[in-house]
């Protein structure tokens, strides 16, 4: 869980300081992984009942699938932005008009 805290902190640092769209994606992925790690770690402390301590692992499975979908959409947006601007610096992306 300390590892998860470290991972989340690094993600926050990246999200605050970087201005490159790909670096922002890396930071978001790191934070999602930190949250998943916490789910699985805390799941071990659940009292054992019939199938009840699979809940954390199930939630993590859904979370991973969601993160994959999100990454696909972000990468498509990055490609489109690069084609339009020849640049993926987020601070220069002031317009949202295509």
């Amino acid at each position: 869980m300390v590892v998860s805290a470290l991972l989340f902190g690094i993600g926050v640092y990246g999200l605050v300081t970087k201005r490159n769209a790909m670096r922002l994606l890396f930071a978001v992925e790191l934070m999602i992984n930190a949250a998943n790690l916490n789910f699985v770690a805390f799941n071990q402390y659940l009292p054992y009942q019939e199938a009840s301590n699979a809940v954390g692992q199930t939630v993590v499975l859904f979370s991973i699938a969601l993160a994959a979908a999100e990454a696909a959409v972000i990468l498509a947006i990055v490609i489109v932005a690069y084609r339009l601007h020849n640049d993926i610096d987020m601070s220069e992306m002031k317009t949202l008009e295509g």
Binding site: G14, A72, V73
Partner: protein
């Protein structure tokens, strides 16, 4: 494994070349997968390997190499005030979360020896969480369609 995870995370954000950053991210995700193994969650670990290392990391590498050109490498250095703010925020978050975990009396509880197997996970997915699974399938399909529609090349004279 913790060292691999955290080190990969730092490399992914601080590497000069973006390709090395992507490889660092893949290393970090691999470290997380091995941590899942160590936490008695082999099904989640294999899922993480398949989805993240197999799909997302390859997708990111593909995009990085597709988009990379000369102007790409010169990454704008962030302002030093933003950098300091980032470090302060990160240290604050890390300290808060770490002390919050250490302050709990979790260590009094014993880790359940007989943790869930993939049979339990599968049973839970296909019964109680079946609506979530359906919605998630819809979200995945919608995101794939959205990504395709976004990255479609508009040809000249195409009525669109």
């Amino acid at each position: 494994m913790a060292v691999v995870t955290v080190g990969g995370a730092i490399v992914s954000l601080e590497a000069k070349e973006l390709v090395y950053g992507a490889i660092g991210l893949a290393g970090s995700l691999f470290g997380v997968a091995t941590l899942f193994f160590l936490l008695n969650a082999p099904y989640v670990a294999v899922f993480q390997l398949a989805v993240y290392i197999g799909a997302v990391a390859v997708l990111i590498l593909f995009t990085v190499m597709l988009v990379r050109q000369e102007g790409w490498a010169k990454e704008v250095r962030p302002k030093s005030t933003m950098s300091v703010a980032g470090v302060i925020a990160a240290v604050a978050v890390i300290l808060t979360l770490t002390f919050a975990v250490l302050a709990t009396d979790l260590s009094r509880y014993t880790v359940v020896a007989n943790t869930a197997t993939y049979v339990d996970v599968g049973r839970l997915i296909s019964t109680g969480y079946a609506p979530v699974l359906e919605v998630l399938a819809l979200v995945l399909a919608a995101s794939i369609v959205g990504a395709l529609a976004l990255s479609r090349v508009d040809r000249e004279g195409d009525p669109s």
